[in-house]
Symmetry: C2
Subunit: 407 residues, 2 copies
């Protein structure tokens, strides 16, 4: 008995941080975004979040909410407090509902929380905590028919490289083998990728639920990577994350092609010349403008407006989620597409914009843009959420936008 | 001019680590497993790897190869050296070709390299570096017809939860709408998940290339998460990673169901009662034993043997990739299935085992198991690679196994 106890004690002492996963003495729960069995971060019923990491030899450990326009975890950084075993802990004030990126900064080294799953963001792969939303039922996995998200590889003549699209197909796609479907091209934001709408946006569950409720038409959704090329010397999105990564792009490395003179606007050529023909060939789409929509968030909103508004022969539904609509000059914007309101309203079945109340300058700029449009006789819809420049807003946005498409 | 220079200089000085992405003065290249535009880690022509991270206030920074049975990055840990700007660098001796997990350890905090994409491993989400293999053409993305990997959600009565499977469908699946296909159930290892065979194993490219060359029959491949449940108090896979995470599982948290008495062996019920019926209902499979295979790696090899060998009415092809075949007692193993060699050989069309020469105890145990089988009249195939207990071996394994199935 004495021996057995001695063994237990020495094992606990031997193992660094033997109590890291010990149960919190309260009614908090591990975040659903944690890796399997990780006890931290934990979310409390009042939406406070407790973080804990093991860093026995560190001098200073902080939680740094990813610096978007707003972050539902607050500003931070939050200093963590060390216990005698080398675990650092902090409980932060109540968070906003939704998905929030953050970094752990240990003696100036910014990286991930080993307790968290990881997601694309800021040109990096980041930690995040999912905070429950009492109104978030619309993106929950429910007992309804489920569509599939497919990973589809194709060759892009524009880039000279193989690329992949994530493709949501509605629940009945495999059964109604003669049915054809409208298509929404849906883009992520800067520093994210083609996986983001699935892993962060919950696109498949939102559409499954809308379709099951008869609120949205069954549709195909195409998600591609809009971060096509960054010019040498361009600031990385990660540059905003002070201390996380170095901020400038390298000159082209030996043996690699130079990034060339074009930036992410080359995405337009990929969409128009490579992606749409591939999709219309590979899936049972309805390949006309009245059954094709394009939307995106933040940087992707700019891409959606650019591509959509300059190709009204291709898209009749155009959406901007938290788009940068500053200094929007109706006369000159998008080759003057807004100058003939009657023609515009005839061609465009939906021009839809959204912003959150916590991203004030996006919200004000969006409202101003819509006001100018309305004054010029251009029909549009403006949708607002109580959120900031974060995925929770974009989930709500999609839940509003999808039912308006292809009707 | 003076002003312009002053601005450039102050911007560089202002930005933490202004030269992090500077070009290396040699012919190394960023690893293909890096996040977009990350200049480090870099792989040299002789397969040395240079790592660099920014940790200005740290006392000690190391690269720790993930401690598998073998790791192609060597043993480590490797001490990094700080420059005056706060960047820490190390170049390690030539690595083995293939995919290798590692951690960055900063003052005792083990986490990811911000320059790397992340992948499931060790119950965590880890950094990895992909080292080129001059014989690795078989898993390259090539100009051949590509299949799809689909993310399929379904409800598991066994666990009472929604789960997802990753499903590879061969290139002609959508075109030959009346064709039916055989199915391989293919499992990952401990601490990994249903994404691993796609993101680490390159299952889709390996099969696309084999099918295009006429070497493998078009088949469906199902990849699910074998980490069903860990008993409270069980060591996490992460426990082996000294200093990375705390090593013991928590007692069940308040409000959460206890993990219960069963561990990952509950996966057998998920496969037999939930997964196979769902797959045979959702896809155009040939739903009989002669067109159904099961294989897995490491922990997944154990699951494949357990599930396959105790359900010969369901599977006629059974594969073990780097399985733990220690103390293999032919008389008692798997309810005595090996006791009647004639019956076994009639039912089982392929019993296939693989191990690498750098995972000596797996290799020796596998050879010994095969020897005992051969002595008892049981037919089997043993395939060996020059690699260790890593994904490079399992890519080669799949490339050998798939052509032997359903012939």
């Amino acid at each position: 008995m004495k021996n057995a106890l001695a063994i237990v004690v020495s094992v606990v002492l031997m193992l660094p941080g033997g109590f890291a996963w010990a149960q919190a003495k309260d009614d908090s729960l591990p975040a659903t975004s944690n890796v399997q069995n990780a006890a931290y971060p934990r979310v409390h019923p009042d939406l406070r979040v407790t973080f804990r990491v093991y860093a026995p030899d560190a001098k200073k450990v902080q939680i740094l909410p990813a610096p978007r326009v707003t972050n539902g975890l607050g500003e931070g950084p939050y200093d963590m407090v060390r216990d005698e075993q080398g675990f650092w802990t902090v409980t932060i004030p109540p968070a906003l509902p939704g998905y929030h990126n953050y970094f752990v900064v240990v003696d100036g080294f910014g990286s991930n929380d080993p307790g968290s799953q990881t997601f694309p963001g800021y040109g990096l792969i980041c930690s995040a905590v999912e905070v429950p939303d009492k109104n978030g039922d619309f993106y929950a996995v429910k007992d309804v028919p489920h569509g599939e998200v497919r990973i589809r590889w194709y060759f892009s003549k524009t880039t000279g490289l193989w690329r992949r699209a994530f493709v949501y197909l509605p629940p009945d796609y495999e059964k109604n083998v003669k049915a054809r479907y409208p298509v929404l091209y849906l883009q992520h934001g800067s520093g994210e990728d083609e996986t983001s709408w699935t892993s962060q946006g919950r696109v498949n569950f939102i559409l499954d639920n809308l379709i099951a409720a008869g609120k949205a038409k069954p549709m195909i959704i195409i998600m591609e990577n809009g971060m096509i090329a960054l010019k040498a010397g361009s600031p990385l999105p990660a540059a905003r994350v002070a201390g996380i990564l170095a901020p400038t792009l390298p000159a082209p490395a030996a043996g690699q092609p130079a990034p060339g003179p074009r930036g992410n606007e080359a995405f337009e050529d990929v969409v128009m010349n490579d992606l749409i023909p591939m999709i219309d060939g590979a899936f049972r789409t309805i390949p006309d403008k009245d059954n094709r929509a394009i939307a995106g968030l933040s940087m992707g909103a700019g891409q959606a407006f650019q591509i959509g508004l300059t190709h009204l022969e291709t898209f009749a539904y155009i959406g901007s989620l938290s788009g940068v609509l500053r200094d929007f000059d109706l006369k000159t914007a998008y080759s003057g597409v807004f100058n003939d309101a009657a023609s515009f309203n005839k061609k465009v079945r939906l021009l839809w914009m959204a912003a959150g109340r916590l991203e004030e300058r996006f919200y004000q700029a969006g409202k101003a843009a819509q006001e100018a449009m309305t004054k010029a006789g251009i029909k549009s819809v403006f949708f607002e959420t109580p959120f900031g420049h974060e995925w929770q807003a974009w989930r709500y946005d999609l839940n509003d936008l999808a039912p308006r498409l292809f009707k």
